[in-house]
Symmetry: C2
Subunit: 594 residues, 2 copies
């Protein structure tokens, strides 16, 4: 197993050359204190801490796992030590609100740190990722009194936050939750019910845990509009910030899962637990959406980062492992065999991994720039436009990158042959740990329905046209001879996507099955298109000569050519699938399944 090396050169290329992030940050008062040097220092320090402290936890956490006893959940001791270093370094607070001790950094910077985190150890990352999401939601919707009491310790990483949504009978359909909240005399609420699949619902890394819980008030609407949101601490907090008695919330059990063994996935029992409402009554799901959207970009990143790390190990193995001879003649004639990287079949797998993980990296950063603009731009209309881009790109990143990421870990494992199936090489763990990214925070089917239904058809195609304008701008800027054929191919793919989108907006008026039936094909089509967009951006910069070495630019052009020759043509196949809608899909009788 090779040690994790952060992709610092690709970060620099994307930050400086492709997206020119320092100029973007400087343009917004909110982020104007962040410049390229500070960003480089953050990535450099973050990389050192993660490679040295967090990445070594991954294999250990898999074999030791989280342990549940009547006293609660304990994580491997090394996790506690690493978490202490992590909070001491201020790594929990990168993007949080400076009013409460956060550092207020742009997401387009923190997202690179987040990639390194997911590449180091997904289980460790989950503790902080969920907490960061809940902090963001709470910052937006909590009352000042609640925020003053809870937010500084959450941001500092002294405590962590959870999101408690799912119940045994209620997962993707939250309207039917049965956890109840009844109002007490002091303005607090009593919460009773059982939640499941609660990530970091209990653990021993911090002295307190703050749960954000969906529950229904008596007589509330039966659907999602009846859901309210409550803050429920594990231990009560005194007005002086001291930790008091235990609240009525306990971990009943943890799940035995395919992967992320050191991430405790808890059944949480709320037994007349005391809580405080966040946001207005009945607005619980709306408040939670901010958190979920934030998480979803992170989950796409989990897939991309896993693929990037697995690719790194696979490339090293392919250069090292001697087996067979190159079809065009031995390249290592004095050795027993050639390194397997000489075989085109192995090279094909490596190229697919490299091309997808670099495009994925670019795409999440691109999405994050829109989140930053939506927060930092001065003009309201421009902020709304940016928010639209982020709303569109978030579900796309979640579903497309977690799918690509899982497939990528499988491909990387394949390069190791039989050794990939054995635990000691760490490759099979990537597959197991990454699989969950396609399922949690909204299964990819449901996320794809959000993308095609709410974000595309629901806006009459407006957000897709916005994205199309960005792509068209990049196509127009493609003037180097080497890049012109790519730009032309991308234009063809874009035309196809715009046409099929217009068709879908129109057809969905009468065809109620369309959104669900075509969602995944639409998502894959849009993913293929946007990867092409990212490769055209990279190719334009590389053809003109970036600030990186000439060899780096040359490699970018090789990868871009590979993508356009072999992957972009998929756009047309997926578009054809989208147009089939549910045709032939619902014809079988229920009794014929099984």
């Amino acid at each position: 197993m090779t040690d994790y090396q952060a992709p610092q050169q690709d970060f620099a290329f994307l930050m400086q050359d492709v997206f020119d992030l320092p100029t973007l940050w400087a343009s917004m008062p909110e982020f104007s204190e962040v410049d390229g040097d500070l960003a480089a220092a953050v990535l450099e320090e973050g990389s050192k801490m993660l490679s040295g402290t967090v990445a070594p936890l991954r294999r250990l956490g898999d074999s030791e796992g989280a342990v549940h006893t009547t006293g609660g959940v304990t994580l491997p001791a090394a996790y506690k030590e690493a978490f202490a270093q992590f909070t001491e370094g201020g790594w929990t607070s990168l993007t949080s609100d400076p009013t409460y001790g956060g550092q207020g950094m742009p997401r387009s910077l923190s997202i690179m740190f987040e990639e390194m985190m997911w590449s180091s150890d997904p289980s460790f990352t989950l503790v902080t990722a969920l907490s960061t999401g809940s902090i963001k939601m709470f910052s937006l919707h909590g009352s000042d009194a609640l925020k003053e009491k809870y937010l500084p310790d959450l941001i500092a990483g002294n405590w962590t936050g959870t999101m408690c949504l799912t119940e045994p009978h209620s997962g993707s359909d939250l309207g039917i939750i049965s956890t109840k909240a009844t109002e007490g005399e002091d303005g607090s609420y009593e919460i009773s019910g059982t939640k499941m699949f609660i990530t970091a619902g209990d653990h021993d890394l911090t002295e307190n845990i703050i749960h954000f819980v969906l529950a229904k008030l008596p007589g509330a609407d039966k659907g999602t509009r009846g859901i309210s949101l409550f803050l429920v601490p594990k231990f009560f907090v005194g007005d002086d910030g001291s930790i008091g008695e235990a609240n009525g919330v306990t971990c009943g059990s943890i799940e035995h899962k395919m992967g992320i063994h050191a991430s405790a996935t808890c059944v949480m029992n709320f037994d007349s637990a005391k809580g405080w409402m966040v946001g207005a009554p009945g607005h619980g799901l709306k408040c939670m959406f901010a958190m979920m959207n934030d998480e979803r970009l992170g989950i796409g990143l989990q897939g991309q980062a896993a693929m990037a790390a697995a690719y790194q190990s696979a490339a090293a193995y392919a250069k090292d492992r001697l087996q067979g001879r190159a079809p065009t003649g031995a390249v290592n004639p004095d050795g027993k065999a050639d390194p397997i990287i000489v075989h085109p079949e192995v090279r094909r797998m490596l190229m697919e991994l490299k091309v997808a993980s670099e495009a994925g990296r670019a795409l999440v950063i691109y999405a994050a720039t829109w989140l930053d603009r939506a927060k930092g731009l001065q003009d309201e209309e421009a902020r709304a436009h940016a928010q639209g881009m982020a709303d569109l790109l978030t579900p796309l990143c979640k579903a497309y990158l977690s799918d690509q990421g899982f497939d990528g870990t499988v491909t990387a494992q394949q390069i190791f042959g039989g050794h990939g199936y054995v635990a000691e090489w760490g490759m099979e763990q990537w597959v197991r740990d990454t699989r969950i990214a396609q399922i949690y925070e909204g299964s990819n089917g449901i996320i794809s329905m959000d993308l095609l239904g709410r974000k595309t058809i629901g806006t009459g195609g407006a957000l897709i046209r916005q994205l199309g304008e960005e792509i068209a701008t990049e196509i127009s800027a493609s003037t180097h001879a080497e890049v012109m054929p790519m730009a032309k191919a991308l234009q063809g793919a874009l035309d196809e996507v715009l046409a099929v989108t217009a068709w879908a907006v129109e057809t969905a008026k009468a065809d109620k099955n369309l959104v669900s039936a075509s969602a995944v094909s639409y998502q894959r089509m849009l993913g293929s298109l946007t990867f092409g967009f990212m490769w055209l951006k990279a190719a334009n910069v590389a053809a003109a000569g970036s600030s990186q070495a000439a060899e780096f630019d040359a490699a970018k052009l090789v990868c871009a050519n590979y993508y356009f020759a072999r992957s972009l043509p998929q756009v047309a196949s997926f578009a054809a699938q989208v147009r089939l809608s549910a045709s032939g899909m619902m014809d079988l009788n229920l009794e014929d399944f099984g």
Copy 2:
């Protein structure tokens, strides 16, 4: 978790209606004693035994696993009991040579039993599958003296056989093995070396284990022509069949793997172990190929059977789990929600699983009919023709069905949402257990190179043209109006495949990278084509009215239409990929990977 139900109706449809196996068996003296009634009884009894005894082992074997101590490997106690029932019922000897106690049944019958085995418990199945493969090889290449001594107990399941090929530095490249054999004075050999990844290399199910070991004689050729094959018993066997002292072969350790935990994957140390040569000196790999080819059809089946079993559970779950409402209006208005099978996105996944697992089931039976003909036909030329079909279809089944099977288990897991990631539902185990099928017995990349290189280009395209004639015959026989459009689409796909094959045969003369670069795309193209072939066969029978219920035939036509509308178009995409060969694939410098 639902109990496993064997697909008896689909077996009957395939056996009686699609392939008319009783007539085929009756036409060959070798199999003429097997009729439809006997076959149905075998499947019925086999199904009872497997559902009752073997299927319950799957989850248990995963959690308990194989255990290695200095005394050797022990499997969970329930495996030993089940194996005793298995051998008592004569299930180890279905296809073996009657001269030595086998039942001499056609593979096209036993393959249906094998599907049920793989669907019940892959770890249990591996013990017998490897043993059956080694028996077949030994029957073909062993001397009469050796066979008389060892074969009856192997066939009866009193002992099991292994195949010892891989060494730590030598997996896909067997030419560089370093296990040595030196001739003794009594005609035996002394074998020394270390083998790894040896399935069932040690276990406590039987009192003896017979290893078939590849090793090199002193001064042998450095490549594959220097490899000889040796029979090495764990315990010596007296002339009276009694078990004697231990030989110099021990299990050094077992691997900790992603899945198939109850299958012991052993490092085997041969320390001056005594062995006897099988086949001629230097012919070891040639002898072993018979065994490997046999195994490879079984490994394709592993993928298909896993998908079929996982589909079965997913369909039951999708009918049971209530979540959300059908987009066209509630179908379960009195309940809290509708069953998730009403959602087109869920239906899409179920249809993909059903269509692929039924096509895969048909394809392995079809391949097995050619194995039977290659053994049982009287005419030598006809036997050679049949062997050619089997040679072509075996690597195709291995790679395509294990890929489809793995993807299928992932899809079935997805239908369970978060519950699919949790061990108790048994779905994540299907994913972990099936992943190995893409890797062992030749990784799918290497198997695809065999398919495109040796079997296709190596025969000047002759085997593909043979297959093309079979497909063309089916197309010509498609006369029902409902089936005509499918036949026409399949003709288009066939023309494409024949054209790209002719192109590849010609291009490969100068393009040494072609086989490796295009292998996987070629395999997927041919897999898509042959699935279409299987669905056309099923549709022709169903349209004419099979011996099954009218609803069954109607469901077959729905599935066939689904396949032709949504999957067959892939043939053209894969063909385009094949024609790219290594273009753009080898352009990156080695230092740019990483």
